[in-house]
């Protein structure tokens, strides 16, 4: 009888520990990390450059020590204010690494910025595979992730100067973290 009890307990404990062994998933956390880069353009030539680093943002620094991998997902543009309201032109965004290497150079033609003021939907930049690969290759270093972003309005075809434009570029990253 003692032997039966001992064998039963051992078998049951083994099955229990087998089912309990899959707890690695509890220690990983895929994260969406959104950051917002605000800008303001005015004057005859509409262009603004902002330097920023991911560790300027709490949504990144809260998990920075646990991030194993981070990649770029999406980039959108929103307008806050624009003058004159009928301003129209080509919106260009250029993002470079800290050393000036171009990661993204995108232009969307014939944009009326007033169309992207809330509650209207934002304008999305569709990045090429090469741009995504270059961006993610830079992100893979996981340290000193600093960028320079230039947004400009070119080939203005409507509206009279002086021009004024304020808005934001929102960038969405996805990070794999482990604890």
């Amino acid at each position: 009888m003692k032997r039966v009890i001992k064998i039963s307990l051992t078998a049951f404990a083994s099955v229990l520990l087998f089912f309990s062994s899959g707890c690695d998933d509890f220690n990983s956390l895929p994260l969406n990390i959104p950051i917002t880069v605000n800008f303001s353009l005015d004057g005859g030539a509409l262009s603004s450059t902002r330097n920023f680093c991911l560790d300027d943002y709490a949504s990144y620094t809260d998990f920075q020590d646990n991030i194993d991998k981070i990649q770029l997902l999406r980039v959108i543009y929103r307008t806050f204010t624009v003058n004159p309201s009928d301003l129209k032109g080509d919106i260009r965004i250029v993002v470079t690494q800290e050393d000036g290497t171009v990661l993204v150079n995108q232009v969307i033609s014939g944009v009326t910025p007033a169309n992207y003021i809330s509650p209207n939907q934002p304008l999305e930049f569709i990045l090429t595979q090469e741009e995504l690969q270059a961006f993610n290759a830079y992100l893979s270093q996981l340290n000193n992730l600093c960028f320079s972003a230039t947004i400009s309005v070119e080939n203005i075809s409507a509206g009279d100067p002086p021009y004024q434009l304020s808005g934001a570029v929102d960038i969405l990253f996805e990070a794999e973290t482990s604890f």
Partner: protein, 288 residues
């Protein structure tokens, strides 16, 4: 005996110790959004604690005592791994995001930038285990489950449950099967975080064929949880807020089918329950 009891404590603890990572996920959702994300967890706790309450409908008339160790694997269906989130006004992108048991959280673009939702734990089968003892006399069985408070540092956990079963076939001579009715109540808590309660009513029947007993039951059950957590705006716009919300699980009816192999005082049972979340339950019991 000590080793197996400790193994069961580990199993429950492993589930609970994941709560630190679970709470990170809660913090992204305010009180209008948390229910859809957490509901499958409430259902899982209800499924777990409303299980393993019987493996035979034969209840001793004179005297009986039993101690059992139960382990279960809860199976979360695909439709409980994601949900459609409530988005702010004027956000027209649509899609699903993970529940607590799902995988990746969703991200939706709109007039005020990106709205992001937390990921899940990416598990569709969850193991839980716990011990219980039973006392029976006059065709009535009292089931007791209890774990002493376990200190986890920032919180402590407590678990207890009570069940009463009563034999019905003792009143009906010549009935070819044993059958009984049961009521069950369980409570699980993590101090200052979670207070979960579960209740069940069932009728179950069994028939023995030598060493083997087949059993089946139909059960109505419910589960609910009070959850306290701190919300942190993922965009950093609003200050942290403390919320306490009450969430009901999707538990309602389940059908159970199983069998017990008994050799002298040792019984090994396994059963499958079909419900909102199905569960495979195994038990090792010593009955005197």
């Amino acid at each position: 005996m000590k080793k197996s009891f400790f193994s069961l404590i580990i199993a429950l603890f492993l589930f609970v110790s994941s709560y630190a990572q679970v709470e990170d996920r809660f913090g992204y959702l305010d009180d209008t959004q948390i229910s859809d994300y957490v509901k499958p967890l409430v259902t899982t706790l209800g499924t777990a604690f409303n299980s393993a309450s019987y493996h035979s409908a034969s209840i001793p008339k004179l005297w009986g005592f039993g101690i059992s160790f139960n382990a279960m694997l809860i199976l979360v269906p695909d439709d409980q791994l994601t949900y459609t989130p409530k988005l702010p006004e004027n956000y027209i992108e649509s899609g699903e995001t993970a529940t607590i048991w799902g995988d990746k959280g969703g991200a939706f673009a709109g007039p005020d930038g990106f709205v992001v939702f937390p990921a899940g734990i990416n598990k569709s089968s969850i193991p839980i285990g716990y011990p219980q003892i039973s006392f029976s006399t006059m065709g009535t069985e009292l089931l007791v489950r209890y774990l002493p408070k376990i200190d986890l540092g920032e919180t402590d956990i407590g678990f207890w449950g009570l069940g009463i079963s009563h034999s019905i076939n003792q009143y009906i001579p010549l009935v070819p099967v044993d059958f009984a009715v049961q009521i069950l109540y369980n409570s699980f808590s993590m101090k200052d975080l979670v207070d979960a309660s579960n209740i069940a009513f069932n009728v179950h029947a069994s028939k023995s064929f030598g060493l083997f007993t087949g059993y089946a039951g139909l059960q109505y059950e419910s589960s609910s949880m009070d959850l306290s957590y701190t919300y942190t705006d993922p965009n950093g716009t609003n200050p942290d807020q403390d919320f306490t919300v009450s969430i009901d699980g999707d538990n309602s009816f389940r059908f159970t089918l199983g069998g017990t192999l008994k050799l002298a005082v040792v019984g090994l049972n396994i059963d499958y329950s079909l419900g909102s979340q199905s569960v495979v339950t195994g038990g090792l019991s010593f009955e005197f």
